[in-house]
């Protein structure tokens, strides 16, 4: 298959996207659709009885766990071991993202690494000069991110100090005063709603959605106020330590069941009254640890992606520079 590059500049993949095995793909997908549709006709529908495992969960939720919400009982009780495994699958994914997105230099924060890293690289490896295309790509990125060279005109300490009409909004770190005010109102409501979901709801549980809501709170603050305002909280040294403490608390919760009650993920805490924040025994402990683990884990993954170091390889197609890292 021939792909003719446009004469000027490098080709963007979106500019010309040739059909790629369109017919083979269509035939395979049609076959799969037919097979799956045939299978769907045979599976139980809305009038089938609940499976035995679901009936079991409904029966033990209130008497054995004091939880009025069987879904939470399943997440943290009956299928607690599965949730345990899932937690560490999430942790493995977060570690993969951190490994894939890390830059060459030692990491201090998720943002602004390229400025610190360039000085470090110049000291450690002066033999590697930046090629023209590399410099051009970095300069374009800096303009995009609104970063300024040291010694350039300084940003005010907080976005609220910015005089009206000063920098263009698309290069400013923060959003306009209208958006910032709206975020200041919405942010506490969202944070309280997320924590309420974890603390109570119908019954304890809800660490997973609560963690996702907390990530939303962080992202909202980041989008509205710029990275410098969230960089006190969103830094690897803090988030990674907090995430590991959440993971350690989950391991302790599960293993103490083995030590004290003879089976992993057994309840070893006294049951409080149903419909109170402490009902459900270890469910609340597990769920709160899960909140820490999921909230910080997703935050690490998302901010690592957002602040991903721009480690561009030299462009071999344009004939400038060599490939690969210098050894």
């Amino acid at each position: 298959m021939s792909r003719a590059d446009p004469p000027t500049g490098r080709a963007e993949a979106a500019e010309h996207e040739p059909a790629h095995r369109r017919w083979a793909g269509a035939i395979l997908v049609a076959g799969l659709a037919a097979a799956l549709s045939a299978a769907m006709i045979g599976i139980p529908r809305e009038h089938a009885a609940l499976p035995a495992v679901a009936r079991y969960a409904m029966e033990v939720a209130l008497p054995r766990w004091g939880l009025t919400e069987p879904v939470n009982e399943i997440v943290y009780g009956t299928r607690g071991f599965d949730t345990f495994g899932e937690t560490f699958l999430l942790l493995a994914a977060v570690v993969s993202v951190v490994v894939l997105t890390r830059s060459r230099e030692r990491r201090r924060g998720y943002f602004g690494e390229s400025l610190a890293g360039r000085r470090e690289q110049a000291r450690a490896d002066p033999a590697e000069p930046a090629t023209t295309s590399e410099r051009a790509a970095r300069a374009a990125e800096q303009r995009e991110q609104g970063q300024r060279e040291p010694g350039d005109q300084a940003d005010p300490a907080t976005p609220d100090d910015t005089p009206l009409g000063a920098p263009a909004p698309e290069t400013a770190a923060a959003m306009t005063v209208v958006v910032r005010t709206a975020i200041r109102i919405a942010l506490p409501v969202l944070a309280v709603a997320g924590l309420y979901l974890v603390a109570w709801g119908y019954s304890p549980g809800g660490g997973f959605p609560g963690g996702a809501v907390l990530l939303g709170v962080l992202l909202l603050a980041y989008a509205g106020f710029g990275h410098r305002q969230v960089s006190k909280i969103v830094r690897p040294g803090l988030l990674e330590a907090v995430e590991m403490s959440g993971a350690a608390a989950i391991i302790a919760t599960e293993v103490l069941g083995l030590v004290l009650r003879g089976s992993v993920s057994a309840n070893w805490l006294p049951l409080a009254m149903p419909q109170t924040p402490l009902s459900g025994g270890i469910a609340q402990l597990f769920s709160a640890s899960e909140l820490i683990e999921v909230g910080t884990g997703l935050a690490i993954a998302v901010f690592a992606l957002i602040g991903m170091g721009h480690d561009w390889a030299p462009d071999a197609a344009s004939g400038s520079g060599d490939r690969g890292d210098p050894q």
Binding site: H47, E59, P70, V97
Partner: protein, 122 residues
């Protein structure tokens, strides 16, 4: 007719798979994988549905029913709802891994076109 939901889930899965098979832009391939994940969520939630059922919550049952009735009676399948909860979290994490791989490939090979990533050809 919950069968319609099942078939829509199949259609969604096949749309995602078709995108993965025929697109060369790696971002679009990741979007295809996300569509396939969404199809599994729809399928599991539809599979949990029971005709005339209520939510699996043993609090404030609908008029004329007690919590005991709910335990033995007609509620949506809580186990499949739990599966869906699990799948959503894993889906987010896996998408993050895919995207970071795509960004690294784009930075290294200067293209998002998987057909131009020649060094990965066996």
């Amino acid at each position: 007719m919950i069968l319609v939901n099942y078939l829509v889930a199949v259609a969604l899965l096949c749309t995602g798979l078709y995108a993965v098979l025929t697109r060369r832009n790696m971002i679009k391939m990741v979007m295809g994988l996300s569509l396939m994940e969404a199809a599994t969520y729809l399928f599991m939630i539809s599979l949990a549905y029971r005709a005339g059922s209520t939510a699996p919550v043993l609090l404030d049952p609908p008029a004329g029913q007690t919590a005991q009735d709910l335990v033995h009676g007609n509620v949506a399948d809580p186990v499949l709802q739990n599966f869906c909860l699990t799948a959503v979290v894993i889906g987010v994490a896996v998408t993050a891994v895919f995207l970071s791989v795509v960004v690294r490939i784009a930075q290294h090979y200067r293209t998002l076109d998987s057909g131009r990533v020649r060094e990965m050809r066996g």
